[in-house]
C-alpha cells in the first residue's frame, strides 16, 4: 500500500487549516475525522440530509469557520482527500494510523502526520450530575446549531469561560428559555486578568458583545456562583447554585434553587492526547492548558519526527488559536515534504507567530482567571458518583486509594475507575486532582495515564480483519466491507 505524504487527523479549525495550508502549498493531504462532515465540534455542520444551511451566525468566530469550510470544500477531491465518519483508533510505529469506518478498517502509512483531535469538556462530579437533562454546553450547542433541536425548555448553564456565553446565546436564538448562567470566576479575578486580555482587543470586544447580547435577551449572569447540586427523579427538575469564595467553595447558606429541565455544565476543556501519546510524543504538564499536552516547538512539531500537533488537542486555547496553529503545522509539514521553500515558509511563519503571540497572552490571562480552584473538587460528597461508567462513588474510590492504589492503573484494576467505555476520559481529570490532594503529590507527579490502542472502543470485526493491508474478512464473514484504498 502506498505511503501517503500527509495525513491530518481531525477536521475542526486546526485540522482544516492545516490541510488547506499544506494543500495550497501543493502537498496531497488526507483528512480523517469521526464526524460525517467537516467542521469538528465548534463548526459542526448540519447533517448532509438537511438543506444547506450556513454555520455563520454573524459572530466573527463563525465567519472564520465559514471561510475554512468553503476553502476546504474547494480543495476536496483536488489535493485534499476527505475521509469522514472515520475513527482513528490506533497509531503504530513509525506513522501508521489505524482507522475504522463502518466496521471496516484501513491502515494508513504516512510520511507526515498532523494531529488535530481537539478537546472535550471537563465536568467535575457534583451531586445529581448523572441525571438525564444534565449535559455539557457542547452537547446542547451541537444539537441546536447542527440539527435545530433544543435540549430542553428551561435551561441553565454553569461553569467557566466564554463558551458558556456562546452556547447560552445559541440556545436562546434556537427558542429555549435560558434561565441564567452561573459563571464561577469572580469579578475580581476578571479585573486582575484584564491587562492580559487587552493583548487581543478583538477577542475582548467579542466577549463584551456576548455579554451585551445576553443582557438584551434578559439572561442573568451570576458571577462568582457555582453549581452545587442537581435534583430530580427520572430526570432533572431543579438545581441549586450558590455564591463561592476565592477558592470556589460555595456558601451553602446562600443556596438558591432554580427549576429547570436542562443544565449545561462545563469547566474548561481536556485535550485529547491519546494519539500523540501512541506516537511517542514527549508530553509536558500544563494545568492552564488542560493537563498533559504534547510538547511542540514554534512550528507545532512534536518530539517525534514528522508528527505535528495543532489546536485544542495540543493545549486548549480556542478556535482562533487552533486555526493559526493548524496553518503553521500545515506549512511546516509542506516544507518538510519539499513542497514549500524555506523563504515562503518563513514569511508565513512570521505572520502567524506574531498573531499567535497576542492571542496566547490573552488566553493565558483568561486561563489564570478560570484556573480550577479546590472548592470545585469539594462539590462531590462521599455518595456522589465520580466514575459515571462504573457508577463508583467517591467513597469507593477513596477506599481503593487508602489500600494503596495511588496511580491510574492500580485504581483501574482495584476500583474499576476508568474501566468503562469512556476509558477514563470523563472521570480521570477530576480523579487525578482528588488523588493528588489525598497523596500529597501534584497531578504532574502522578503522571499521564498510559494509552494503548484502541483509544476508543472499536468494532471487533474490524480488528479481526486487520493485517496491515487488505484481507478477506475473518473466518466467519462479518459482513464488513473492506475498502480499496486509492493510491
Amino acid at each position: 500500500m502506498p505511503t501517503r505524504e500527509l495525513v491530518v487527523v481531525g477536521a475542526g479549525p486546526a485540522g482544516m487549516a492545516a490541510a488547506i495550508a499544506a494543500a495550497e502549498a501543493g502537498l496531497p493531504v488526507t483528512v480523517v475525522d469521526e464526524g460525517p462532515r467537516t467542521g469538528g465540534q465548534i463548526y459542526r455542520q448540519p447533517p448532509a440530509e438537511f438543506e444547506k444551511r450556513t454555520v455563520d451566525d454573524g459572530s466573527p468566530d463563525a465567519r472564520r469557520g465559514e471561510v475554512l469550510l468553503r476553502r476546504f470544500e474547494e480543495l476536496t477531491g483536488n489535493r485534499i482527500e476527505w475521509m469522514g465518519s472515520s475513527t482513528a483508533w490506533g497509531l503504530f510505529p513509525p506513522r501508521r494510523l489505524a482507522v475504522e469506518r463502518d466496521g471496516a478498517f484501513r491502515m494508513i502509512d504516512t510520511d507526515g502526520l498532523i494531529l488535530a483531535p481537539g478537546a472535550y469538556e471537563m465536568v467535575p462530579p457534583f451531586p445529581g450530575w448523572t441525571l438525564p437533562g444534565v449535559m455539557t454546553p457542547g452537547a446542547a450547542q451541537v444539537l441546536a446549531k447542527s440539527m435545530g433541536v433544543v435540549a430542553g425548555r428551561r435551561i441553565f448553564l454553569a461553569g467557566t469561560g466564554p463558551f458558556l456565553l456562546v452556547v447560552a446565546l445559541a440556545l436562546h436564538r434556537a427558542g429555549a428559555e435560558v434561565v441564567g448562567i452561573a459563571e464561577t470566576v469572580r469579578f475580581g479575578d476578571v479585573l486582575r486578568a484584564f491587562p492580559g486580555l487587552v493583548a487581543a482587543p478583538a477577542l475582548l470586544r467579542q466577549g463584551w458583545g456576548y455579554l451585551r447580547a445576553l443582557s438584551r435577551a434578559g439572561i442573568p449572569v451570576h458571577r462568582g456562583h457555582s453549581i452545587v447540586e442537581a435534583r430530580g427523579g427520572e430526570a432533572l427538575e431543579e438545581i441549586s447554585i450558590a455564591p463561592c469564595d476565592a477558592d470556589w467553595f460555595p456558601d451553602r447558606s446562600r443556596t438558591r434553587r432554580i427549576e429547570v429541565d436542562t443544565l449545561c455544565v462545563g469547566y474548561g476543556f481536556v485535550p485529547r492526547t491519546q494519539l500523540a501519546q501512541l506516537a511517542g510524543c514527549h508530553l509536558v504538564y500544563s494545568a492552564s492548558l488542560g493537563g498533559w499536552i504534547p510538547h511542540v516547538d514554534d512550528e507545532q512539531a512534536t518530539s517525534v519526527d514528522g508528527v505535528w500537533v495543532a489546536g485544542d488537542g495540543g493545549g486548549v486555547a480556542g478556535s482562533w488559536v487552533a486555526e493559526l496553529e493548524g496553518r503553521l503545522a500545515g506549512l511546516s509539514a509542506a516544507r518538510r515534504a519539499g513542497a514549500l521553500d524555506e523563504a515562503s515558509f518563513r514569511s508565513g511563519w512570521r505572520h502567524i507567530d506574531a498573531e499567535l503571540g497576542k492571542l496566547r497572552r490573552f488566553r493565558a490571562a483568561l486561563d489564570s482567571a478560570s484556573r480550577i480552584r479546590p472548592g470545585l473538587d469539594a462539590l462531590a460528597d462521599g455518595e456522589t458518583l465520580v466514575c459515571r461508567c462504573e457508577e463508583l462513588t467517591r467513597s469507593e474510590v477513596d477506599a481503593g486509594v487508602d489500600m494503596g492504589a495511588t496511580d491510574a492503573r492500580s485504581l483501574k484494576v482495584v476500583t474499576r475507575l476508568g474501566m468503562g467505555p469512556c476509558q477514563g476520559r470523563m472521570c480521570w481529570p477530576s480523579a487525578v486532582r482528588r488523588l493528588a490532594a489525598q497523596t500529597g503529590r501534584t497531578p504532574e507527579e502522578i503522571g499521564a495515564p498510559s494509552v494503548r490502542p484502541p483509544i476508543r472502543p472499536v468494532s471487533m470485526a474490524s480488528l479481526a480483519a486487520l493485517d496491515g493491508g487488505l484481507t478477506e474478512a475473518s473466518p466467519c464473514s462479518t459482513g464488513a466491507v473492506l475498502e480499496e484504498v486509492p493510491p
Binding site: 438543506e51 446542547a140 451541537v142 433541536v149 427520572e234 459515571r388 476508543r456 462479518t478
Partner: protein
C-alpha cells in the same frame, strides 16, 4: 423540541422507541430525535438502575447508550436515526434481540 426557524430539514421518517412510534428527520441522531420529543432518559445503569441521558454529545462519554435493532451499546449521540429503526432503552448491560444474530 425542534426549532423551526431557519432550519430546512431532510425528509421525515418514522422510528420506534420502546415500541412507541415517533417521527424524525433524516440526518438527526437518535439522541436528537428523542430529545426533540422530550424523551430524556436513554438507558438505566447496570449497578443502580439509575436513569441516564445525553451527556457529552460527541461520542466521548458513552452515557447515551441505547439498543438499536436488538443490539445493545449503541451511542445515541452518534448514530443517525433511520426509517423503521427499533430503538429501546438499554437496561443495565442490555439484551441481545433475536435480530442481533449474525
Amino acid at each position: 423540541m425542534r426549532n423551526t426557524e431557519n432550519v430546512h430539514r431532510g425528509p421525515a421518517l418514522r422510528f420506534t422507541f420502546d415500541g412507541e412510534a415517533f417521527e424524525a428527520f433524516a440526518g438527526e441522531t437518535v439522541a436528537a430525535a428523542l430529545l426533540a420529543e422530550g424523551r430524556r432518559t436513554l438507558r438505566r445503569t447496570s449497578r443502580r438502575r439509575s436513569p441516564r441521558g445525553l451527556f457529552c454529545g460527541m461520542g466521548v462519554c458513552f452515557d447515551c447508550l441505547v439498543q438499536v435493532d436488538g443490539r445493545p451499546n449503541v451511542q445515541a449521540c452518534l448514530v443517525p436515526v433511520r426509517e423503521g429503526m427499533r430503538v429501546e432503552t438499554q437496561v443495565g448491560d442490555g439484551t441481545w434481540g433475536a435480530d442481533a444474530d449474525p
